[in-house]
């Protein structure tokens, strides 16, 4: 039998000992989900950005196709394509300029329009995909002006406006995640402070005795700290496991569905360590809160 193993303040039998691990588990669960969403979002954006930097797309409308003309002619290549390709090849820094085949365009549009859409019947604009050398700093304004001289309806799309919107969305998600985590930490502080004060009053006679036989406030505080640390760690790890399980299940459900636009839940080692830190941070915050609450409450006593 260990003589000094047991806690002098019997907090483990308290109501707080039963409900607090669950509360911490739920809080860590929600915080972990918020963090995972934010991190997945930012990974996806980095991924897209890397894929899109140094590229642009030129859309050329079908100005050459007569209105109400035969449907079979809808996808005939516009005349402007050839001069624009020439222009691009002459532009310094362009590594590749490629006209997308109709099949490729169809594949790209499928997620939006579905497999059944008969693209051959639609006047889909032609697309030229342009890739620049990595070091190149092309004058995009100049290029756009030259392109519109050849084909007034052509659009030079650097993807920046689309990426910018997605980036704004991601930033919003990240701020919401930060807010959620901050609220949860605030909640944890309030709950632990409340439970600690409750424990102090429920075990007032024990604490009074400990004081009378010479215990300092820090000794009493250490009893509460040890209790809070145990339940916060236990609850936090449970909450984190639940969150990871939820994300895993969600990933499995979405896999194979048509939602290929959704970012994958692929987390990097750095993200994992941030997630693992979450229950640790919550446990530290809870422990420090318990200590300060005990010291403050007892310090106010005569």
């Amino acid at each position: 039998m260990k003589l000094f193993g047991r806690r002098d303040v019997p907090l483990d039998g308290d109501a707080s000992g039963r409900f607090l691990p669950w509360l911490v588990a739920v809080m860590v669960y929600l915080a972990a989900l918020a963090l995972i969403s934010a991190m997945t979002m930012s990974r996806a954006i980095t991924h897209w950005q890397e894929g899109l930097s140094g590229t642009l797309t030129i859309q050329i409308p079908h100005d050459q196709v007569p209105r109400g003309g035969p449907a079979s002619k809808a996808n005939a290549a516009p005349d402007a394509i050839e001069p624009i390709l020439q222009l691009l090849i002459a532009t310094p820094g362009v590594r590749e300029a490629k006209v997308l085949e109709p099949e490729e365009i169809e594949r790209l549009l499928q997620p939006w329009l579905g497999a059944a859409a008969g693209l051959t019947d639609l006047p889909v604009p032609s697309l030229i995909s342009v890739t620049f050398d990595t070091a190149a700093e092309p004058n995009l304004e100049n290029l756009a002006r030259e392109v519109s001289k050849i084909s007034p309806g052509a659009v030079v799309d650097t993807h920046q406006s689309w990426l910018g919107k997605v980036r704004d969305l991601a930033r919003t998600v990240q701020w919401v995640a930060v807010l959620v985590v901050a609220l949860i930490v605030g909640c944890a502080i309030m709950i632990v402070a409340f439970a600690t004060r409750m424990g102090l009053s429920v075990h007032g006679h024990v604490i009074q005795l400990l004081h009378l036989i010479g215990a300092r406030d820090s000794y009493v505080a250490s009893q509460f700290q040890a209790h809070v640390l145990t339940f916060a760690l236990r609850g936090g790890i449970a909450g984190l496991l639940l969150a990871v399980g939820t994300v895993f299940l969600a990933g499995r459900t979405l896999e194979g569905s048509e939602a290929i636009l959704l970012p994958e839940f692929v987390l990097q080692p750095l993200d994992w360590s941030a997630l693992l830190l979450l229950p640790v941070i919550v446990a530290i915050v809870a422990t420090v809160t318990a200590r300060l609450t005990v010291l403050r409450t007892l310090g106010r006593m005569p």
Binding site: L3, P10, L212, G299
Partner: protein, 260 residues
């Protein structure tokens, strides 16, 4: 008895040495002390007496005379509402929380209602003062077990207080009060729940501790016990204190604090 002294010699080598036994000092000094609870009437008033280091006093008073209140001021549970109280040569009103805790470690208390922790075994209860003062040595266990055996609880080391009789609980409480070999021992009715034979045995324990330098104050109703041991008696009545010197060299100052 020698065995017990060994125990305390061990405890003193670990904790409080040397003892504060300098001649001329007082361990407890009441000067016109008054005590009232909140805005209520005075429970005690005009209390003046002092106890020298190494002394042994009984305290007798009718119930309601304020014995427990007076003792609670000595073990620093209450502060006087008037007058001056010095413990270990320190004015108790000037003590910080830290100093109060440190001073309480030098004071062993046997509470009238024992105040054992029900969720700890007898052994753990008795070891608590040592644990609080920072002794985490597993050797402590052996010494605590010896002390409990000495008060006749060898069979109950791992018993929880609710399963013990009143007399057994009382002996656990006494063991807890003396385990750290305090400089000052306050006992409020420490023999109220044991038979005469055990009461005498416990008094011998206190005397043994006293021989090793601990100042002892024992509040009791048991006049026959008081008669059996030759120690000065602090008599408390009607808001005043009188000390009966029953042997030469007792350290009361009757002129100063005598009762009305």
């Amino acid at each position: 008895m020698c065995h017990l002294a060994d125990h305390f010699r061990w405890a003193s080598s670990v904790r409080f040495c040397p003892l504060d036994t300098a001649i001329g000092k007082t361990l407890v000094r009441f000067e016109d002390v008054a005590l009232r609870y909140g805005a209520g009437p005075e429970v005690l008033g005009g209390v003046s007496f002092h106890l020298a280091p190494g002394s042994f006093h009984f305290m007798i008073g009718a119930s309601g005379a304020g014995k427990s209140s007076l003792l609670s001021m000595i073990y620093l549970a209450r502060r006087p509402s008037g007058g001056h109280l010095h413990i270990f040569e320190r004015d108790v009103t000037t003590l910080s929380r830290h100093e109060t805790a440190m001073m309480r470690r030098k004071i062993g208390v046997v509470f009238q209602d024992f105040r054992l922790l029900d969720h700890l075994t007898a052994l753990e209860n008795v070891a608590l003062p040592l644990k609080i003062s920072g002794q985490r040595d597993e050797k402590v266990r052996r010494h605590v077990a010896e002390l409990l055996a000495w008060v006749g609880l060898a069979e109950h080391l791992d018993s929880y207080p609710p399963t013990l009789s009143g007399g057994q609980k009382q002996r656990v409480a006494i063991a807890r009060a003396v385990v750290g070999r305090p400089s000052l021992l306050i006992a409020d009715e420490p023999t109220g729940n044991v038979d005469d034979r055990m009461a005498v045995r416990l008094l011998y324990l206190f005397e043994e501790l006293n021989k090793l330098g601990t100042t002892i104050v024992i509040a009791t109703h048991n006049e026959s016990l008081v008669a059996r041991f030759n120690h000065p008696v602090v008599r408390l009545g009607n808001g005043g204190v009188r000390i009966d010197r029953r042997q030469p060299g007792a350290d009361a100052r009757p002129g100063k604090g005598s009762a009305a």
